[in-house]
Symmetry: C2
Subunit: 174 residues, 2 copies
């Protein structure tokens, strides 16, 4: 199979997207760490818990909604537990299961962090987009999320073209 190289438009879009994500997440993460000592991933965890019934979620469900791996989440919850912001609870119906539950201190922490964070999301993202673009980005994101999730599991199947037999042109390597 010959490689389906990116078109010039696609190449430009991909690079532009990478730059955008790089700047955006570094802006988001930087503000949170500076002002709240909280990496963005940890903030996401607390945010999801704060919205859940009884402020608790099963580990697996929390991993799913935050796109964390099981391992990453387990480590992260351990750190949040050390800070007293989250506590683990056994699941009564499945003895393998664990709940992560937001504590009062955790709620206070995210409540304090939220205004600065939201303001930064606005400045770095929504202030730059028209309402129409927000709608477009929402649709595009949904499409990407679905495709990427299936691409993640499909990777490693046929079509990889290992080695240097595909005559790639330097300058269009992604």
């Amino acid at each position: 199979m010959t490689t389906r190289w990116l078109s010039s438009d696609e190449q430009h879009c991909w690079r532009s997207f990478l730059r955008a994500c790089g700047s955006l997440f570094s802006a988001i993460d930087g503000q949170l760490v500076r002002d709240s000592g909280l990496p963005h991933g940890y903030y996401e965890i607390l945010a999801h818990l704060s919205e859940a019934p009884d402020r608790r979620l099963r580990m697996s469900e929390l991993a799913r909604v935050s796109t964390f791996s099981k391992s990453r989440l387990s480590h992260a919850i351990a750190r949040l537990e050390e800070r007293g912001w989250v506590i683990r609870r056994d699941c009564p119906t499945d003895r393998r299961g664990q709940f992560a539950e937001l504590t009062e201190a955790g709620l206070t922490a995210i409540t304090a962090a939220a205004p600065g964070h939201v303001e930064q999301v606005r400045r770095a993202l929504f202030d730059a987009l028209t309402p129409q673009q927000v709608a477009q980005l929402d649709e595009i994101s949904a499409a990407i999320a679905e495709a990427a999730a299936s691409a993640r599991s499909r990777a490693g199947e046929a079509g990889e073209c290992p080695g240097a037999t595909c005559d790639p042109e330097p300058g269009a390597v992604g």
Copy 2:
């Protein structure tokens, strides 16, 4: 200053975007690590070098185009140097400066990695988007990149509203 909370549309878009980026980069990174032993950031470095005149770039320029911090780039180049894929060269006109230069082995490595990577970018991203959406995403990305870059430096100025005096509503914390 009262916090400009996200509207329901913005909230939905932001969550959707976070999920998309999470899945996308984990799909991209997973394929590269599995098939080429190369995290995506490192791939980007090699790709940029492969396109540069004489296959070399100043560290600061390379950091800029790949959205790496100086420190992150310095560590990354050290790893790539250990693998023999990149070599540092002194800059003749500025004795503080360093070039990162792609070696023959490095060129071979990225040439081998490119087809599988590009295929994965297609599957996880472009196969899911219409040409119109690609154009939209390109424009949106450019807008984000600019806004985020300036938000990164503006963070910490007035408007952060520290503490819990802003009456945030749980459920819309970003």
